[in-house]
């Protein structure tokens, strides 16, 4: 009963609802712009709301968080430029749908799935926070390593014509992710004494270049193609459709919550993992994955928004941030005189339930702001190529510069654009490069930590898998994912299928 009382605070103070609404709206449009992120927006709000009352400051920050995670899907679907790393997987099928004239349907689907994912994440936060926190607390380096390897297994799914090409692209991405000063030993790797490279290759710059600039260059090779007329009569999926995909939504949301609850792993990894699991588990997708399958939007969008609820779990129960935004929120709470940690829920239950209520209200406004303007936004795709492509290049420039206010980031972005253009020209996949850059840190740090903890022995590290139930489960999943990608497994499945039909 006290939980309901604390949650009702937001309805007794209507300006909190207005602040959540304003935050969600701003978050949607910030998230849609490549180079601007929810982390950046929330960081700015920490100083902006310094003198505000605690509840008001939290309300607007939670709204921006929810809106920005969803917002990345807008530009991903319309322009094939993910607004945030969490929307990389959405771009794969969302943009394909836009090319078929179904951008409105794709955005409506992304909106509805984001809302459902957020609600499921909030449900997990409200009911299972201590349980999920307990699982997250028992994650060791080897478990994070296996999680990142599972993410890298997606290379196979994204490889197109052959796993070999995906592996080459993935290796390029991981190698680029290693550029810079090593975080553990301060050794300079592949910097060639260029000061700019000491901080490494920013994965957002890589993403904007590989998806945005390279797409613009690829499109102008054939100017004869006319813009596709977008159908906007059907935006929201019907109840029947939503129920049909409910199982996939719930599965993806569970992945989102669990991955979001892991410190250091956020919505981007959750979205990639759930896209991969959807690709493996959905037997009859509406279209081949990567060619406009609606399942390719449902899985990542519900996962990346469910990860919001998951990210709050370790933050509120253990005082450990689940992702970058919750790390900023912890500093915001500290400024307000609070100490996020194991006693936060017992000492200040009103705060915990206020955050839950703000997330619920933000989900509602996400539906409102997510669906508004879809018809206007789909007009963007109908603009002639000769006008749209230079505009995309300039938006990519602004997005790349906005990260660190460095002109060199613009040059890197164009460099990635050229690399992506040539790879696309010769039918190599580019998504594994971004995947590699994103996952390098998680993979490498935990591999090296795991080996060092076992006295420098890789066998010792592998042996430690069998000391924890979580590690054993992850290991079995990893082996399964690997085996199902091999030619041997595919042949076996085909033989089994032909025996059954005979």
């Amino acid at each position: 009963m006290s939980a309901l009382y604390y949650m009702s605070v937001i309805f007794r103070e209507p300006w909190l609802i207005a602040l959540v609404a304003a935050g969600t709206c701003a978050g949607v449009y910030v998230g849609a712009i490549p180079g601007l992120s929810g982390t950046m927006a929330v960081s700015l709000l920490v100083s902006f709301t310094f003198g505000w009352e605690q509840h008001s400051a939290l309300a607007v920050m939670v709204g921006v968080f929810v809106g920005s995670v969803f917002g990345g899907s807008r530009s991903a679907i319309l322009l094939n430029i993910p607004g945030a790393p969490a929307a990389v997987a959405t771009a794969l099928d969302g943009y394909a749908l836009a090319k078929q004239g179904r951008a409105g349907e794709a955005m409506g689907l992304a909106t509805s799935q984001s809302v459902i994912g957020t609600l499921l994440g909030v449900l997990a936060l409200a009911t299972c926070a201590p349980l999920v926190a307990g699982i997250a607390r028992n994650f060791h380096s080897i478990d994070y390593l296996m999680l990142s390897l599972m993410g890298l297994m997606m290379v196979g799914s994204l490889s197109g014509r052959s796993v070999r090409f995906g592996l080459i692209a993935g290796c390029i991405g991981i190698f680029l992710g290693c550029v810079g000063v090593d975080g553990q030993t301060a050794v300079k790797r592949f910097t060639f004494n260029i000061v700019y490279l000491n901080s490494g290759v920013d994965y957002v710059v890589a993403m904007i270049g590989l998806f945005g600039a390279s797409e613009a260059l690829s499109q102008i090779t054939d100017m004869r193609a006319t813009p596709v007329k977008q159908k906007v009569d059907k935006i929201l999926p019907s109840w029947a459709e939503s129920l049909k995909y409910l199982g996939l939504t719930i599965k993806s949301s569970i992945i989102g919550v669990l991955v979001g609850a892991l410190p250091g792993a956020g919505g981007d990894i959750a979205a990639l993992l759930s896209y991969d699991q959807a690709k493996r588990s959905v037997k009859h997708p509406s279209a081949p994955f990567g060619k406009g399958a609606v399942e390719g939007i449902i899985a990542p969008e519900s996962a990346n928004n469910a990860a919001i609820g998951g990210a709050f779990i370790p933050m509120l129960t253990l005082g450990i941030p689940g992702d970058a935004v919750t790390a900023v929120l912890i500093s915001a709470l500290t400024i307000q005189g609070l100490r996020p940690g194991p006693n936060l829920i017992s000492q200040t239950p009103d705060l915990f339930w206020l955050i839950v209520a703000c997330l619920l209200v933000a989900s509602f406004f996400l539906l409102v702001f997510g669906l508004t303007g879809i018809k206007a936004f789909t007009k963007i795709v109908e603009v002639p190529k000769g006008i749209l492509m230079p505009t995309i290049l300039i938006l990519s420039v602004i997005g790349a510069f906005a990260i660190r206010n460095s002109v060199y980031d613009i040059l890197w972005m164009f460099g990635f654009g050229v690399i992506g253009y040539f790879l696309k020209r010769y039918n190599y996949p580019i998504a594994p490069i971004v995947l590699g850059v994103i996952l390098t840190r998680l993979c490498e740090e935990n591999y090296r930590r795991g080996v060092m903890l076992e006295g420098g022995s890789i066998l010792g590290m592998l042996g430690s898998i069998f000391t924890s139930y979580i590690s054993i489960v992850l290991f079995v999943l990893l082996v399964f994912l690997f085996v199902t990608q091999t030619e041997f497994y595919r042949h076996w499945k085909e033989r089994r299928h032909s025996k059954k039909s005979a």
Binding site: R164, C171, F175, I394, F422, G456
Partner: protein, 194 residues
Amino acid sequence: MSDQNINAQAQTEYEDLNPALEVNTDDLIVVKEHSLEAGEKVFSIVLLAFGIIALYLSIELWFKIPLRRGPRIASAAAVPVFVSGLWVLMAAWTVLENFKLTTPLSNISGIGRKIIEAIKYALPLNVVIMLAAIVAYSAALLMRVSFYIATSVFLYFSMCYLTRKDFVKNILWTAIVMAFIVVVFRLLFSVVFP
């Protein structure tokens, strides 16, 4: 055999034949004449070359890191050596596979003509011009030319070149895009421009 039996047999044989089905053109698979694109064999060799450079740099780093910093298998060079090695392996395999396959250039005689056709495919004129425009735009930003001027010139030039018409209308398009950028990024979100 009586006429009736012959007709009955013919009827049965006709019914056993699968009638021609209407083919849904959406399901037609485009069969490419050549497995590879023009210049793809060279591109795979270029990828292999970059992989070898990456591997060389990684191995150099491997031996540069002193052992007192810890076992090399957990050093800063471990992952780069592994991934660059895998890169070289996969790229070499691709080069060997590509030897057996054909490209649209396979039927062209003369290495000079092959090179020209490969470059035409890899770098169509539109892309070359746009890359030159991008280089000029980047140089202008590095030389601290005003972002507004450099961007407006880049946009107008690119639109005119790509559309090859509506030179006056493109001024309006340039103005619309610039206005959108200034209002949304500069005024609304306070994004700093180069």
